[in-house]
Amino acid sequence: MKKVWTVISIVAAFILFSTAGYGQCRTFAKSECRPALNPYVHDGIYNATELSEGESAELYKTFYSNQNYRIAICGDASLPRIKFTIMDADRNVLFTNADKNFARVWDFKMESSQQLIISIEVSPNDDKMTDTFARGCVAVLIGFNANE
């Protein structure tokens, strides 16, 4: 009977730790990423996902004219640097942080409203000594200037 409880405990611990990542991602986005938007006001939309080295994700959003925006991209400390690229709806590249020393934030304004694609990519870690892939939360938060 003792063995049964040992197995149950191990499986319960596995389930607990395997699902804890979701809550951690939310906490990470709130505590680590939202402050990077200051003095801009966060729009309240939570865009975060777990990514591994070499994985990428895209976020689609319409940005409006004559409104100042800030995009903040934050990656878990266990991840290599995050590259982000801003493209128009036809996938023409408008900005990449690879040209700006992988900056985490970007401030911009649009003359006319349009949908942009924010592509984020966790760079592969070429210098690592093991064959394991780092995995962690990446958040994309958007802020705007509420006082204009």
Binding site: T19, Y22, R26, D43, I45
Partner: protein, 299 residues
């Protein structure tokens, strides 16, 4: 049954439970963890398998854009808080939590203290009804009361409640409910905007309204992601008249986006000209379609 057989039986049940739990925990954008052997293969194909996130304009952002474009405040347009007791299903609660969120944002941008508190309290009730216990807790209400005369703080607190709601739902593997709330908020924002404008001569507001054609594409894309859910497919069908009304309204863009960065402020401006072509008839049809859908949601 021997002790050994009992042990295997328990392990089988636990394994089955583990498989089911792992399956339901995966949302639409997550991928299965892989074994060490699979990792190499996964690394090769992962570049082609991108996760997609859709971000609709938040009600706070929409309200600020409307005020800048010259919108006025009209309390009579809001969904009365007395309607909340009629919402019994999760679909009604989620859509109207979005509606009340948009009303709350609209009131906050125009500094309507009493209305802000009423709509935050009614949002809290609907959130609890959706098991979103921590999205709007008493500390949020207390902070709102303490900062009611500081518009910037009020907007930040409201933004925080939206973040709490949609992050809780996504992390709890309830993205369909999050999508319904966002849809309700988007529809109410468009309803408020179109209700404030009768004639297309009000160019700034009309421009903001027509620009929602772009975010409508994102709303459609978001709903289509979860259309296997009946509540979502119902909403997807219900927005068809709005999609149709927008189809005939044209937004023309100049060919290329010019990117100009101010080296001192480090702010970038993306320059591209836009022209909107809309007739009064097209606008009236859009306004009517929006009002019809919104009124069916708040009933």
């Amino acid at each position: 049954m021997s002790m050994r057989e009992k042990l295997f039986k328990v392990v089988r049940y636990i394994a089955l439970f583990g498989v089911i739990t792992a399956f339901v925990s995966c949302n639409s954008e997550s991928k299965n963890d892989s074994t060490d052997k699979e990792k190499e293969l996964k690394a090769k194909v992962v570049q082609d398998v991108k996760k997609v996130m859709i971000s609709l304009p938040s009600p706070v952002e929409t309200s600020i854009l409307l005020k800048k474009a010259g919108a006025s405040y009209n309390e009579a347009l809001l969904n009365p808080t007395s309607n909340a007791s009629k919402y019994n299903t999760d679909k009604q609660k989620a859509l109207n939590l979005g509606v009340y969120g948009a009303d709350l944002s609209y009131a906050s941008i125009f500094g309507q203290d009493q209305t802000i508190m009423q709509y935050m309290n009614i949002s809290k009730k609907l959130a609890i009804g959706l098991d979103l216990l921590t999205a709007i807790d008493q500390s949020i209400i207390d902070r709102l009361e303490a900062n009611h005369d500081n518009r910037d703080s009020v907007i930040r607190i409201i933004s925080e409640t939206f973040m709490n709601s949609n992050s809780s739902l996504k992390d709890d593997n309830r993205p369909e409910t999050a999508a319904l709330i966002l849809a309700g908020g988007w529809i109410e924002g468009l309803y408020l905007a179109t209700s404030l404008v009768d004639k297309i001569e009000k160019k700034d507001l009309i421009e903001r309204i027509v620009e929602q054609k772009m975010s409508l594409g994102e709303l459609k894309q978001l709903l289509e992601t979860y259309k296997s859910n009946k509540d979502i497919s119902d909403v997807l069908e219900a927005i068809q008249p709005i999609i149709k009304a927008f189809e005939s309204i044209e937004i023309q863009k100049s060919d290329k986006v010019e990117v100009v960065t101010n080296l001192e402020t480090k702010q970038t401006e993306m320059k591209q000209k836009q022209k909107i072509n809309i007739t009064q008839k097209q606008y009236d049809e859009l306004k009517s379609a929006v009002a019809k859908l919104r009124n069916s949601i708040i009933q």
